[in-house]
Symmetry: C2
């Protein structure tokens, strides 16, 4: 199969037209019209076979996740998603039907969030990978950064935590495996939090680590009560009798939920906005002075997880962005 | 080495600030201010160890080329380059000094063209690769596309052809090897051609193939006189006595020169603009009715190169963009 045929098969299912696409796939660059007066937000992230996905992932899951993890970065900054580019690396002899199914997964995620696949490229490599660039926009005053948290802000976490990490276990419940394979970026919630939160980050590497990034950028500390971490029914079942029931919720990666710091006077509005969107949003702690990120167990004792803090280059560490 | 240390080393030499960088490396997304009223141009391209570069490339060449091939896409569309994101894939046990040198090469190319490295990510993979997203802008009326060529337009080629392909040969002259390893995208020329050319493409896969793309997109044919292809002194020496002296100039990839179709009434202005920029620009043929791309040898006979038309997925095929 030539690369032209491969590109055709991979891109055929994707939405190519959309807001501001002047010229999409087929020329040297995509030509895009940014929303007047707004800022452009850009992020890139790769999913690599054997690192970010394995044979347990259906091809469609791979394509979905490659786009979803990028859209989660846009969500974390309060952006509206607009366009994606996808660099595809394909091993010699790859099954064209499998690649077409990967393309359908990416297309499904793009359609769900109303964005267009505006360009990309394909190359040979030893393992399959997709490197997606996602572009979005936001009004200048609505961009959520990591570095704006202030002592006293309330820490709010969306959805439920630990599901994606638990979804990696052999025999994991379908609901947990689905969180691992088809993450659902919190774009609408991110935009709703744009005018309310003082800082935000998406939870790709686990709450302990990502909250650490937010606090370091903001020059603050944080205190989290582990008993308040939101758990799904499936996670509760999986964690019943676990040696460390807080390990997955506090340190498990890839939930792609949002963690926002919201000034106390705006918490009610943030919670109301989440209710309107039917997205759970749970206060789990506060931003503190100092530099320490303290996780408190139910007894009030400081929690020291077995493996908080990951090397993102280790297998199944997900979103080492810079 | 943790990924944070690796990111620090890789990105340290790169220019991070620049036109419109509101927030660069360090958050979930780069936040960028597009030039008001202009269109955004976006392209992505990967260079992969063993496919696009090998041990003959110094690490700095790899970083330079990864960015340069993307900037060439911006050049082909008449854009001003603004920002780049870089997704880095690193094999286990990679030498941190080598990665730092790759970063310095990328930084050197970014500085040369006045752009900022605004973001990126790092992941494990089996071979080293850099997937760069380049972003630029152009006024709406100045974007050069592939599909605007009209019969009678004159085909102009910048610089010299065949050097990069000849630079792959063992013992190639330093000038040729340098064209292969440190391509120099024709950004200023692309912008100068913006208001003059009816179509343009950059020569990543060789004139025969890339002109074919331009003609297919435009619904035209083309006739090129091979004896008019511009050759460097080093290429002339390398080709002296070659079995097929047109093979490298007509079909060799990776020169990253521009091929523009310019209406006859504007050719003098295009040539004058190139002279001002001190970039050779050579008429090599014309756009024709029909669909055939005809390469004419010195005798006037139709040329049939041994291997015109590449599978971009074969080793050392370079820029399979979509």
């Amino acid at each position: 199969m030539t690369e032209f045929e491969l590109i055709r098969r991979f891109t055929a299912p994707a939405p190519r037209r959309g807001t501001g696409v002047v010229l999409g796939i087929g020329d040297d660059c995509a030509v895009l019209r940014p929303p007047p007066g707004e800022l452009l937000l850009a992020t890139v992230d790769a999913v690599v076979e054997g690192v970010h996905f394995d044979a347990r992932f259906a091809p469609g899951d791979v394509g979905w996740k490659a786009l979803a993890v990028n859209l989660s970065d846009l969500a974390a900054m309060g952006a509206r998603p607009l366009w994606a580019l996808c660099a595809l690396a394909v091993p010699e002899g790859a099954d064209p039907r499998r690649l077409a199914a990967v393309g359908r997964g990416l297309a499904a995620c793009a359609r769900r969030h109303g964005i267009a696949l505006a360009g990309g490229n394909v190359t040979r490599a030893r393992e399959l990978s997709l490197t997606v660039t996602a572009l979005g926009s936001a009004p200048a005053g609505r961009v959520l950064r990591r570095d704006g948290a202030r002592p006293g802000d309330v820490l709010l976490v969306s959805g439920t935590l630990g599901d994606a990490a638990l979804g990696l276990a052999p025999g994991a419940a379908a609901a947990l495996a689905r969180r691992q394979r088809r993450p659902d970026p919190r774009l609408a919630l991110g935009r709703a939090l744009g005018p309310l939160a003082s800082a935000c980050i998406d939870l790709s590497d686990g709450l302990a680590q990502d909250l650490g990034h937010l606090c370091r950028a903001s020059g603050t500390g944080a205190r989290v009560e582990l008993s308040r971490l939101p758990l799904s029914p499936a996670a509760r079942r999986a964690l019943a009798g676990a040696a460390d029931p807080f390990l997955a919720p506090a340190t498990g990666g890839e939930d792609y939920e949002l963690c926002a710091a919201v000034p106390p006077g705006r918490v009610a509005r943030a919670l109301a906005a989440a209710r309107r969107l039917r997205i759970p949003l749970t206060p789990v702690g506060v931003v503190t002075r100092g530099r320490a990120v303290v996780l408190e167990g139910p007894s009030g004792a400081r929690y020291r997880p077995a493996r908080a803090g990951h090397d993102h280059l280790a297998p199944h560490r997900r979103k080492p962005a810079f």
